[in-house]
């Protein structure tokens, strides 16, 4: 047992624990936070696999952005726990069946002869000067530049679509235009009217 293996088992246990707590925690905020922990531990495991860029990207994207949004929504929704738990026994058989299926599929991948992952050769140690980030970047901008750009267009379309579907210009909103406020002249606001003095009767 090397130290790396020990660290791996620590993180793996933590990951399994966090994943379990995500689905067993009673409080949805706790569940979301455990999911954050799960992401973070998964990133640590990737780091052990020397995929430092992916690990950091996982933290940056999922922990730093996605889960923040998620947590916001969970906190704002004020989920009613009793109603969530209502259909538990009714859905249990279906859920269990799906779970068994997933386990079976994973067994297919890990154990069976089709994709015996154990038979794959270990990747060679690339040496100390090797930069995962640089290698990934190089590949992304050369061999995979076409799908990369397509994904960028996809994101652009997602922005356009989201704005097109949600933005409403309300006619009745009141807003200030500081530029106009500053540029206002006296004659725009005050009108001097010369009135004849009223006579006292």
């Amino acid at each position: 047992m090397t130290i790396e293996l020990l660290v791996f088992y620590v993180f793996a246990a933590l990951l399994a624990f966090a994943g379990l707590r995500v689905i067993t925690a009673r409080n949805p905020v706790h569940a979301a936070l455990f999911l954050v922990l799960a992401f973070f531990t998964a990133a640590a495991i990737w780091m052990l696999l020397r995929a430092e860029f992916l690990a950091i990207a996982l933290v940056l994207v999922y922990v730093g952005a996605v889960m923040v949004l998620f947590l916001f929504v969970v906190m704002m929704l004020d989920i009613n726990l009793d109603r969530l738990r209502e259909g538990f026994w009714r859905y249990l058989p279906l859920g269990a069946a799906v779970g068994v299926l997933v386990v079976f599929e994973m067994a297919l991948v890990v154990v069976a002869k089709y994709y015996a992952s154990g038979t794959l050769p270990m990747p060679a140690d690339p040496g100390p000067g090797y930069s995962n980030t640089k290698a990934l970047g190089r590949l992304l901008y050369t061999d995979y530049v076409y799908p990369f750009e397509l994904a960028a267009v996809l994101l652009l379309v997602a922005i356009v679509a989201a704005i097109a579907l949600t933005m409403r210009r309300r006619k009745d909103t009141k807003y200030q235009d500081p530029a106009r406020q500053a540029a206002v002249k006296r004659r725009d606001r005050v009108r001097l009217v010369s009135m004849p003095a009223e006579k006292k009767e």
Partner: protein, 497 residues
């Protein structure tokens, strides 16, 4: 990096231009005042025209040979270029047909044009994909645009519901497709379709995994084509979407879906033809049966045409499944070109018939009930005649092109030795003829119920006339289009040897 390191982008010039111009239109539209909104319409048409011309130039430059770029992920063979030309033309026609409709309903916003152009880009990417990653990204690009276009009229509950249904089912289909792709990747170790075909041809691939992946891929494809058993979304989405969006989704995306099917099944997996052809047989027969029988019961013309789409896509599959006979690809070019011809012709027919629905609708009136077509002959004989041509073409009545398209496909099926399938197809087409001819009967032999004005713009009237008469002209002289399809299909990688 020097210039020699750059990929040769010539085959992709059309897509690059489309992307640049669509982005430019997005920016220009932002700063346009409301009264100049029509400018976006013309700019979009100009973009499509420019892409059309550029694609023709690309064909000239490559001499019709298959040209690859982006590390083999992008292929511009003759089939890709021909289909792209049809897509550009179809999208342009959609824009012309739907302009007045959208303007009357406050949907003539820049986003519509931008989304339509990006959807066109997605279709072009799909059509030219030679790599499953590119294929999937193109598919998602197109689908995302189409989902949001369906929901663009967000105050309408039916449109929103249709978009939601489309989105959820589409996501499911994408999941199936991705799952199948990952299986194929696991089995062959490559996502490149050409390499995949080579790996499978060598024959050292586990057959079980391959067929497992194939099943999921075919399921995903059949959703995008809209054939039984993945057809459920079609009637609801066609019915619920605004007419203009129905016109859009019923035309150009069909070409892209056809191209996707050809790329996956023919380019990548032709050595598994024995397996996927059996699946297609079942799907084709069920689609034709369900589509034609269900369409009879409809009173809404959009729903009726939706079921007709299902049956037509089933008919098109007949061409795809007749290519390889007993491992022999001898008759494949004929069969696939028949399917391609059928798809192109179907898009033209669909363009015309939904275009007619748009031409007859006006502010506050959707012209989507069959009863709205009663006595059309008395109100506008020319439009009634065009509609007659379109309905005849959809039904497959000679001398329209619909007849010839069906004939070519059935000919391929008979050559493949599946006589019973040909008989079933003919019988089910006869069933289909009933509801198309019912529209003709309503138009010519019933009294009009609706007395509102019929005032399509001059451009719409000209285009609709050209579209309707094309049914007749192509029906009499199908030779050149058919020959083009044949040459295009012969250029496909597995058939080019």
């Amino acid at each position: 990096m020097s210039a020699s390191d750059l990929p040769i982008l010539l085959p992709a010039y059309g897509e690059i231009l489309l992307l640049v111009l669509a982005s430019a239109i997005l920016l220009v539209d932002l700063f346009l005042p409301e009264r100049l909104r029509g400018l976006t319409h013309w700019l979009s048409l100009a973009t499509l025209a420019a892409c059309f011309v550029l694609t023709v130039q690309v064909v000239r430059a490559t001499g019709g040979q298959a040209a690859y770029t982006f590390g083999g992920m992008f292929v511009a063979d003759l089939m890709a270029n021909v289909l792209k030309l049809v897509v550009y033309a179809a999208v342009a026609a959609v824009l012309v047909y739907s302009r007045r409709y959208l303007a009357e309903r406050g949907m003539l916003r820049g986003e519509f044009f931008v989304l339509a152009l990006f959807a066109t880009l997605g279709m072009a990417v799909m059509i030219s994909a030679n790599h499953m990653l590119a294929l999937y990204l193109g598919l998602e690009l197109m689908s995302l645009c189409v989902y949001s276009m369906v929901a663009l009229n967000r105050d309408s509950a039916t449109s929103t519901e249709a978009a939601m249904k489309y989105f959820v089912l589409g996501a499911l289909a994408s999941g199936l497709l991705l799952y199948g792709m990952s299986m194929l990747y696991g089995a062959t170790g490559t996502l490149d379709l050409t390499q995949m075909a080579q790996v499978i041809a060598v024959g050292q691939v586990n057959g079980v995994v391959l067929v497992f992946g194939l099943v999921f891929v075919v399921a995903g494809l059949s959703f995008k084509l809209g054939v039984v058993p993945f057809h459920m979304w079609i009637p609801d989405v066609y019915h619920g979407a605004p007419n203009a969006m129905t016109l859009f989704i019923s035309t150009a995306p069909k070409l892209a879906a056809f191209a996707m099917a050809v790329r996956m099944l023919v380019n990548g997996l032709i050595d598994l033809a024995g397996d996927w052809q059996q699946m297609l047989v079942v799907m084709a027969v069920l689609s034709m049966a369900l589509g034609n029988f269900a369409a009879i019961a409809q009173t809404n013309i959009k729903r009726m045409l939706a079921y007709s789409t299902i049956s037509h896509m089933g008919f098109m599959l007949l061409g795809l499944l007749a290519g390889v006979v007993g491992g022999n690809r001898f008759s494949a070019p004929d069969a696939y070109s028949a399917a391609m011809f059928y798809t192109v012709v179907y898009v033209l027919m669909s363009l015309g018939s939904f275009g007619m629905v748009l031409a007859l609708s006006r502010a506050g009136f959707e012209a989507e009930e069959l009863d709205d077509y009663r006595g059309l002959n008395q109100r506008d004989p020319w439009l009634a005649f065009l509609m007659l041509l379109l309905m005849f073409a959809l039904a497959g009545v000679p001398p329209t092109v619909g007849f010839y398209a069906k004939l070519a496909v059935i000919d391929a099926v008979i050559k493949a030795g599946q006589i019973w399938l040909a008989v079933v197809a003919v019988l089910l087409s006869l069933v289909g003829a009933f509801y198309y001819l019912r529209v003709v009967k309503l138009m010519y032999f019933d009294e009009p119920r609706d007395a509102g004005p019929i005032a399509p713009g001059r451009d719409v009237r000209w285009l609709l006339s050209a579209n309707g008469l094309a049914m007749l002209v192509l029906g009499v002289m199908p030779g050149s289009l058919m020959a083009l399809c044949l040459v295009a299909v012969q250029g496909l990688y597995p058939l080019a040897r």
